[in-house]
Each structure stands twice: as C-alpha cells, then as structure tokens.
C-alpha cells in the first residue's frame, strides 16, 4: 500500500532544544496509527506538524506527497485537537455552515443538515453552542472534524473526556472512515481503546521514536508490553 504520510528525519527545535529528534515514520494509506507515550513525550508536537500547524526545522514531511501546509493536504485533513474548535456564540448550524463554506463543499446546506441529524443536534441546531452540554459540544466537534469526508484524520487524545455516546459515535465514524480508505493518526495514553482500533503503533519517549510497527495480538493481550520492551524506564 502507498504511504499517506512520510516523515523522514524530522527534527523540531524550540530554540536549541530538540523537541523531536530524527523521526522517520511512514504511515501507509488506509491504516490507523496510534501514537503512544507519556504526557510531554512529543505526541502533540508531532500531530501539529502533520496537521501543518507547527513548522519543523529539519527533515521532510509529506502528506499525500505534498507539504503539510499545501492546499491539497489541508483539503484532505480532519484535525481534532484538545479544543473542540467551534464558536461559542454561533449556533450549531452556523458553526457547521461556516466550516463547510471554508472547505468549499458543494452542497453546503444539505451536508450540514445531514450531519446535524447524524450527531443528534438537529433539534437544537439554532441554539448557540454556549448553551450546549459537554456531550453536545463534543458531538458538534466530531461533526466539524468529519464534515468534509477527510482522507486523513489527525486526532489528539480523541477519547479523553468524551461521554459514552460520543465515544460510540467516534468509534463508528472512525470505522466508517477506515472503510472508505481514510488514514488515521491518533495519540492517546489510554492503551486499551487505542490498541483496539489501531493497525499500527508508534511509541514516543522524550522526543525519540522508540518503536514503530504493526499492532500485534500480543499487545492487545498485554498492553504494558510495549512500554516494558521499548522505553528506558521500562514502564516503571
């Protein structure tokens, strides 16, 4: 399978300090890669680089053969970071409509309505997000991320702090995305959930890539295995 993302010898510096050291990581198209590692290991930095939100200093990153900031790459990209990325003072419909316009979708109105329906917000579509409950916000954020059928999904800790309904919805959306051939990169420190969906795993420690490869059955049975084998601290 061709590679959707190719990282070659990527270094990211804050001044003289290397936050990411010499990353080489291919992610093949249609796979789901889970980035594992402790807080502060560099997962978010790596995801921001892939999403074109953060410049890097050395090496090269190709997303579908293009620079991460290129038009083509961003057209394919669905990014969900720590924030939900929707406006508090706009209604759910206005939010989705705006992001649909920005993505230059053809049938804006119909797409937005079908997504409102799908995430169960059709009834409250006119309400400003300010008045939404936590779960409703999360579902709106999911609709915002998946609105334009992205071919590459970059999700930073997507399962953290989701309620049950949103977790079910996200799993469904991810399965569906996999089915139409989308590539997924997600970071998490919740091993079990991540390993269940992932086809590949990459383990990061202190800005270094410790392990990258396919997810095996052994890992599913013993989620701590990876840490014990490949980190300096040995998972202590």
């Amino acid at each position: 399978m061709p590679d959707a993302i190719i990282l070659e010898h990527v270094w990211k510096f804050y001044g003289d300090y290397a936050a990411l050291r010499d990353y080489t990581l291919p992610v093949s198209a249609g796979s789901c890669c889970a980035l594992l590692g402790r807080n502060g290991a560099g997962k978010t930095t790596l995801l921001r680089i892939l999403a074109g939100l953060s410049p890097f200093q050395r090496g090269s990153v190709r997303v579908f053969g293009e620079q991460p900031r290129s038009d083509k790459a961003r057209r394919q990209l669905g990014f969900l970071g720590h924030g939900i990325g929707v406006y508090e003072d706009l209604s759910a419909r206005e939010n989705l409509r705006f992001f649909a316009q920005v993505a230059s979708l053809r049938d804006t109105g119909a797409t937005v309505e079908s997504w409102l329906e799908r995430v169960g917000l059709a009834r409250v579509a006119e309400m400003p997000v300010r008045q939404f409950s936590r779960g409703m916000r999360q579902r709106l954020a999911l609709a915002r991320t998946f609105l334009h059928n992205p071919g590459l999904l970059i999700l930073d800790e997507p399962f953290t702090s989701l309620d049950d309904r949103a977790i079910a919805m996200l799993s469904e959306l991810l399965t569906e995305a996999r089915a139409r051939g989308a590539t997924i990169v997600l970071s998490t420190h919740q091993l079990r959930e991540a390993l269940a969906i992932a086809t590949h795993v990459a383990l990061i420690e202190n800005g270094r890539l410790r392990y990258a490869g396919e997810r095996t059955e052994e890992m599913l049975n013993d989620p701590g295995l990876l840490y014990r084998l490949h980190t300096e601290l040995g998972g202590a």
Binding site: Y14, G15, D16, Y17, P55
Partner: protein, 228 residues
C-alpha cells in the same frame, strides 16, 4: 577567536577615536557660520549612518532567517537592532542639541527628524516584543516579520514627509552632492569618525550576539531539564 576579534575591533576603534577627538577639538578650526557647535556633526552624521546601516543589515538578516530558518541570523539581527537603536538615539540627541544652538528650538517636525524618530519607535517596539516571547523559534519568526514591516514603514515615512516640510540642512557629504559643500578636511574627519564608530558598533554587536546565543543555550538546557 571571537574574543580576539572583539578585542581587536574595540582597540583599533578606541585608538582611532582618540585620534579623531584630538583632531576634531584641537586641530580643526571653528566653522565660519556656526562656530564651535558644528563639531557635534562629527558624531551626529556617523551615528545616523551607523544606525541606518544597522537597520538595513537587520532587514537582510530577517529575510535570510525566514528563508533558511537559522537562528544565528535572528540573534545577529536582534543584536544589530539593539545597537542601532542606541546610535539612532545618539543621533537624535546630538541633532537636538545642535538645533537648540543654531535654530533656537530643540525639535521641529522636519521629515528627517520625524522619520528618525518613527524609526526609533518602531525598533523599540521590536525590542519590546522580543522580550514578550519566550520560545526562541517563534520569537525569531515573529520578530523577522515585524522587522520587515518596520523597514517598509520607515521608507514610506521618509518618502511621504519628504514631499512637504524640510528644515534640516541638505546633504553635505560629497558622495551625495558631488562636492563643494564641505571642507575636505572636515569631510575626511567625518569618514574617519564613521569608521571608528562602525568598528565600535561591530564590537558591541559581536558581544551582544554572544549573549543571545548563550541565552538560547540556557533556554534549551532549561527545557531539557524540564523534559527529563
């Protein structure tokens, strides 16, 4: 190596400056129309030129930083702007003293005066902004952008005010006038003093750049310590 260069530049500059001061105050006669005060020109003009050269070099370095991403260019640009601002202030202060004696006023809204002042304000903003950004790489990018905007703005100020009020004396150096506006001995003195001041500025810039690099090293060590 760098220490030797700094020391050498400073030493030559000091010797030259001593010679210049001797010449300016004890050898050259008073000017016919202005009397003794004209001597301030030997510092006023070289300070202005040093500042201008500095901003131009900083602009070039900012563009270089944006195209290559090497932090060395950013450190150098920041050091140069800092030193240039000092010389621009020297230029404005000496000019103001001269104006008080000759024109009877400290300040006038002439185009050279105004653009010199705007220039100092813009680059002070540059220096203030640098202090507000912690992360060196982000600081370098944003400062480079501000430097480009600032330099373009200074050009616009200069060109636009040129159209109307001018009280400042016209060019005196013969590369701009074709000669005849200034006594050759005095002009030679201006160039000699310019040389001395430029060397002094270069030495200051080298010391400052060293500090910038050390600051960056300390920052990276602190990040390393926090990460581990």
């Amino acid at each position: 190596m760098r220490e030797k260069v700094v020391f050498g530049l400073a030493a030559v500059s000091a010797v030259l400056l001593a010679y210049d001061l001797y010449q300016i105050f004890l050898v050259l006669p008073d000017e016919a129309a202005q009397g003794a005060i004209y001597r301030i020109m030997f510092f006023h003009i070289p300070a202005a030129i040093t500042g201008m050269i500095g901003y131009f070099v900083a602009l070039t370095l900012s563009i270089l930083y944006l195209s290559t991403g090497r932090l060395r260019y950013d450190s150098l640009a920041a050091s140069i702007v800092e030193v240039s601002v000092v010389f621009s202030i020297v230029n404005i202060v000496t000019g103001s003293i001269w104006a008080r004696v000759i024109w009877g006023i400290w300040w006038t809204w002439d185009y050279r005066l105004t653009s010199a002042l705007v220039c100092v304000l813009i680059f002070c903003a540059y220096l203030i902004m640098r202090r507000a950004i912690e992360e060196p790489t982000q600081r370098a990018r944003l400062s480079a952008a501000l430097c480009i905007f600032g330099c373009v703005d200074v050009v616009i100020v200069w060109k636009s005010i040129e159209w109307f009020r001018t009280q400042h004396p016209g060019p005196v150096l013969s590369i701009r006038t074709g000669g005849g506006n200034i006594d050759p001995a005095m002009e030679r003195m201006i160039y000699l003093n310019l040389l001395a001041i430029l060397m002094m500025a270069a030495a200051m810039v080298l010391v400052r750049t060293r500090q910038e690099q050390t600051a960056r090293e300390i920052d990276s060590l602190r990040r390393l310590a926090n990460a581990a």
